[in-house]
């Protein structure tokens, strides 16, 4: 019964969007983290989705990989910070908080879409089970 498959598909979509929300939360939490060198500084993380298709060309989605943003880590002059280097600079995270907010809204909307799909399928299945009553 294909309608049961819809639960797996929408479930995989919800799972993938949850990973996206998690990376966004981690990025936003670390927006003000500083470090001594650019290598130690926090790098924004983003998931890349990949589809999992079966022979009928339908299927869910999975998180293919999580990449780290290679945007430049900005320097800030803070000579009193214990983490500052010899010249008195600390390296900030390369998180773009506006981008993260947009990502968060997009992820939550996509999650809601999958929830709606699941609810509708559940309703249809319940009605199918009640056939002939």
């Amino acid at each position: 019964m294909s309608l049961f498959n819809v639960f797996n598909i929408a479930g995989s979509g919800m799972q993938a969007q949850t990973v996206r929300m998690n990376t966004t939360a981690s990025n936003l939490a670390n927006v003000d983290s500083v470090a001594t060198t650019p290598d130690q500084a926090y790098k924004a993380k983003h998931p890349i989705f990949a589809s999992v298709l079966n022979a009928q060309m339908t299927g869910g989605v999975k998180v293919g990989e999580i990449y780290q943003s290679d945007a430049e880590n900005m320097m800030r002059y803070e000579p009193n910070n214990p983490l500052s280097n010899e010249e008195g600079y600390v390296f900030q995270s390369n998180v773009n908080s506006i981008e993260e907010m947009v990502n968060m809204i997009s992820a939550s909307r996509s999650y809601q879409n999958n929830v709606e799909v699941m609810n509708t399928s559940k309703e249809l299945l319940t009605k199918t089970l009640a056939l002939g009553k």
Partner: protein, 136 residues
């Protein structure tokens, strides 16, 4: 007139199956709304239904098999004979994804309403059969 339970639901049985297949396809489009390079898919319900009917008509016909190596008509029978098509996006995105969430949502809603309509047809058919059996 004899009541045949095999033929009682007629085309509605296949229609219900295809409706649930279509909802699966649209659900996978919606789940992959943020997947790079994913192409939205769908199938034409009308063609799929007439193909499914053609399959059924063939299967009711009988062919003699005079040799064991002869293929039966059921050999090539598959429940999913429809052709999967790709949706033409109105505004394709830069990452190669052609899913347009609002279009898919509209199609999903349309498909679920039609699924319920088919369910109604079947349930009325069952009610008709029941009253015929009871003879009230």
């Amino acid at each position: 007139m004899a009541i045949s339970f095999d033929k009682a639901f007629g085309i509605q049985e296949q229609a219900l199956d295809l409706r649930s297949k279509r909802s699966e396809m649209i659900a996978s489009n919606l789940a992959n709304a943020d997947t790079p390079n994913y192409k939205a898919r769908d199938f034409d319900f009308k063609t799929a239904l007439s193909q499914a009917q053609g399959v059924q008509q063939i299967s009711t016909a009988k062919v003699d098999q005079t040799n064991v190596k002869h293929l039966s008509l059921d050999a090539g029978r598959s429940p999913s004979v429809y052709e999967t098509l790709y949706r033409n996006p109105i505004s394709p995105s830069l990452d190669g994804n052609t899913v347009e969430t609002h279009v898919e949502q509209a199609n999903f809603a349309e498909n679920s309403i039609q699924y319920q309509a088919t369910l109604n047809f079947i349930s009325h058919r069952i009610m008709g059969l029941m009253s015929a059996i009871r003879g009230e």
